[in-house]
């Protein structure tokens, strides 16, 4: 068994302080769970750089030139990426009954990539299929905020650098924030009350993601909840497996009272054992109680759907009264968005279409599953969909190279659905020298949405973190930095609102 396999079996953990028995007898933890209101947050990354310009697409010029500029940059014909307003596989307008789907700055009608409607030829085609209707169905139900033009100052075209900024919410490299993630700092906040062996965060991937990094509490990473098992000793002495495990657990527990790295090792081990106690059972519970919904994820056969099923399992166990499940923050990856070539436009067999179809159908089935669980769960779970950058405005032969600002989606029944923020200016005369859209703040017509505004709004409005704590210089999760005055962050920034009527991002 190689290292990667071992880690994916046992989970990879970050760790911290005290080990305490009787977890939920601890008033601090109880208080923390009450403060965030039994709400859940899923961070879903479109890894590789999603082509935002072919995700939320101008359908006309409105009072500006967005559609004309789009058609100049995105070609028709073989290898062309242009998404059409009509004809086969057209864009789906965002303007539907009761929802305004125009860009607030230019007035251009916006359309959604047809693949996001969750139709996967051969898999999801009929209205009874799991995931049918995809993200557009969730949009039409008022559960999606399309947050346009998201980015950060001095965008970076390197995957790693751009991911680092999205993870740390720290574009200017303030050293105090450089080694922790924006969600990690939220979990580690003393007022959150999580100890070193508590596991408030779960990542469904091989290692803890950057936005969860911190050193006060544990975040577990595994591909599946059922992976939280120790490899079994299949030797002649297998009958004493239980005793061996107990001995290893005791070894870890003993380290927790020792200093420095010993304690970290002990806490990580203890948290891992806690995961082994809780998560395989959570998985079985879901599979037993919700077999039909589970089969829906299998029927779709989509990786993101299967990952979201793991989130559903953890939530279901906790909502079923298993107080040992503390996780409320999750991370799911949908990779493959680095579409330098062969991206595909409106062709259902194309690469970008397949990725978007996977995203849309998976989210739809996940929220249908949550709604069916009851307890208003579909209104208590929010999914933030993001990508490290968008892509070059002008396409190359058959794909797109790295770009700058792009849309994020905030999805859930607690969201006031609608368009938030401006579409970037894609006129060739306004592009930066590398052919990408520019980041702007202040009173500019094409003002960008800073990614810190999105995070801050989520923390304040959704997770109930006091606004002052978000920018507090000592414990702040998104601290003031040394940027120019109009790029400094204040509490007022953490209040994104729907463009058409100024409604807050989340319903009360």
């Amino acid at each position: 068994m190689d290292r990667r396999r071992f880690l994916s079996r046992t989970g990879w953990l970050t760790a911290g302080a005290l080990l305490g028995p009787g977890l939920f007898s601890r008033p601090l933890v109880r208080g923390a769970l009450a403060a965030q209101g039994d709400r859940y947050l899923v961070s879903l990354v479109l890894d590789g750089g999603n082509d935002g310009l072919n995700t939320i697409v101008p359908m006309d010029d409105g009072d500006g030139s967005l559609r004309s500029d789009y058609e100049a940059a995105r070609l028709g014909g073989t290898g062309g990426l242009r998404l059409a307003v009509d004809g086969p596989n057209p864009l789906l307008p965002l303007s539907v009954a009761g929802l305004a789907g125009r860009d607030p700055n230019t007035g251009a009608e916006l359309g959604m990539h047809p693949g996001l409607a969750g139709i996967v030829p051969g898999v999801i085609e009929a209205s009874g299929d799991p995931g049918f209707g995809g993200l557009h169905a969730l949009w039409a139900a008022g559960k999606v905020a399309v947050v346009q033009g998201c980015g950060f100052p001095d965008y970076n075209l390197s995957h790693d650098e751009a991911r680092r900024v999205f993870h740390t919410a720290n574009p200017r490299g303030v050293s105090a924030l450089a080694t922790s993630g924006w969600l990690g700092r939220t979990l580690a906040r003393p007022a959150a009350g999580f100890g070193a062996t508590d596991v408030p965060g779960l990542n469904f991937r091989d290692a803890v993601a950057g936005e969860f990094r911190q050193h006060a509490t544990a975040v577990a990473a595994a591909r599946r909840l059922s992976d939280f098992t120790m490899p079994k000793d299949v030797s002649a002495y297998s009958s004493d497996n239980a005793a061996k495990l107990a001995a290893i657990e005791a070894l870890y527990a003993a380290q927790s009272s020792r200093p420095g790295p010993w304690r970290e090792l002990g806490d990580a081990g203890t948290a891992t054992f806690r995961c082994m106690d809780v998560f395989p059972a959570a998985s079985k519970l879901y599979l037993a109680d919700r077999a039909a919904w589970s089969a829906g994820y299998d029927k779709m056969g989509l990786g993101t759907g299967r990952d979201l099923r793991e989130v559903a399992k953890a939530i279901y166990a906790r909502e079923s009264g298993d107080e040992r499940v503390q996780a409320f923050a999750f991370r799911v990856d949908n990779g493959g968005y680095d579409t330098h070539s062969d991206q595909g436009g409106a062709d259902p067999a194309g690469q970008h279409w397949a990725l978007h179809a996977e995203l849309g159908a998976s989210l739809k089935h996940f929220f249908d599953d949550l709604a069916d669980m009851g307890s208003a769960l579909d209104r208590r779970v929010t999914v933030l969909v993001w990508s490290e950058f968008s892509r070059r405005v002008r396409q190359n032969d058959s794909g797109t190279d790295h770009g700058s600002q792009g849309p994020m989606f905030v999805v859930g029944g607690g969201v006031n659905g609608g368009v938030v923020g401006n579409h970037p200016n894609i006129a060739s005369s306004d592009l930066a020298s590398d052919g990408n859209t520019r980041y702007r703040q202040g009173t500019h017509d094409f003002r960008s949405t800073d990614v810190r505004d999105v995070y801050g709004t989520l923390l304040v409005q959704w997770l109930g973190v006091p606004a002052a704590a978000v920018i507090d210089p000592a414990t702040g999760m998104l601290r003031l930095d040394d940027g120019p005055p109009d790029e400094r962050w204040t509490v007022a920034n953490f209040d994104l609102r729907r463009a058409v009527d100024g409604a807050p991002l989340f319903a009360a």
């Binding site: 073989t78 075209l157 990786g303 990779g335 070539s341 397949a354 396409q395 190359n396 020298s433």
Partner: protein
């Protein structure tokens, strides 16, 4: 040339011992030569070139199939645990190829490990551009080599099977077809396609991930990063040169770098540690700069 043979899916095991050759195979729309791992295609031949047009490149349609049953008596895979396409990671690998990356994305979409037999990705296109055009409207054939490494799920008592495969995709020019004015929209488009895309905007060099010397030479970005822009090479900047000085190739660092005509402090010839560009291409760059480095249109002397 046979004009319109219908495309037939062919399974290519990709080489190696037959007993291990089923964990991963290639499925193409073109027949390989005599049961081997090489496909040779003439530009525009609808039997193998998926774009079906004479356009200076061949587009091969390739799928990867896990746990193939095509030779089940020799090799039976209990399922694929992992399939890795070589040079598919945009991390500075000088042999990184976006088409291989697109294929790896499709493999990732299979969500391995899976136990199903004959589990195939959707089709990806691997485009092999011809070398050229060179003087006399001639092109030369070109080849890409696609490599995969696959590992099966464990077989009780045996362990895992590893299967390394190769698919060689060759494109040869159609007769009298390599005419620059039909392959490109203008002189700068030709420089982008024939110089920057092939020799400069590569992973680890002047691509969006790396931007060596702050210079990005991908489509949509290259010209505005060159024309009238001061180079980061101090010695060149001190001389008052630009990356491209419209109308004057002699004070354009781009031309000096490509021609190798460099003085002290001006760094290495480009492309770095690769064969120098054919003199004809360097000449086209010179003509383009001396004509004012226009974004569109054909500069006299660059059409062939």
């Amino acid at each position: 040339m046979a004009a319109s043979r219908p495309a037939v899916a062919a399974d290519v095991p990709g080489g190696g011992p037959r007993s291990r050759d089923c964990v991963s195979i290639f499925r193409t729309d073109a027949e390989p030569a005599a049961g081997g791992s090489s496909i040779r295609c003439r530009d525009g031949d609808p039997a193998c070139d998926a774009d079906g047009t004479v356009n200076g490149s061949c587009a091969f349609t390739v799928r990867i199939c896990a746990s193939s049953t095509r030779d089940a008596s020799s090799c039976l895979s209990p399922g694929a645990d992992e399939i890795v396409v070589a040079h598919a990671l945009d991390d500075g690998d000088p042999q990184f190829d976006p088409d291989f990356q697109a294929l790896q994305s499709r493999v990732d979409g299979l969500d391995l490990p899976r136990t199903e037999q004959d589990l195939c990705t959707s089709a990806a296109r691997v485009v092999v551009p011809l070398a050229g055009p060179f003087a006399g409207n001639r092109c030369r054939g070109a080849r890409k080599t696609l490599r995969t490494h696959a590992i099966s799920l464990p077989i009780p008592g045996i362990g895992r099977i590893e299967d390394a495969d190769v698919l060689r995709l060759s494109c040869v020019p159609a007769e009298d077809s390599c005419i620059p004015t039909t392959l490109f929209d203008g002189t700068f488009d030709r420089i982008q396609g024939q110089v920057f895309d092939r020799s400069c905007a590569l992973s680890g060099c002047h691509d969006s991930q790396t931007r060596m010397a702050g210079l990005l030479l991908e489509v949509g970005a290259s010209r505005s990063n060159l024309v009238g822009v001061t180079p980061t090479t101090t010695a060149a900047a001190d001389l008052g040169w630009n990356r491209v000085t419209p109308g004057d190739a002699a004070t354009s660092l781009l031309f000096r770098k490509l021609s190798g005509d460099l003085g002290a402090g001006l760094g290495e010839r480009m492309p770095l540690r690769r064969r120098a560009l054919p003199s004809r291409l360097v000449e086209i760059v010179r003509l383009w700069i001396d004509a004012g480095a226009p974004a569109t249109g054909w500069v006299p002397g660059t059409e062939e």
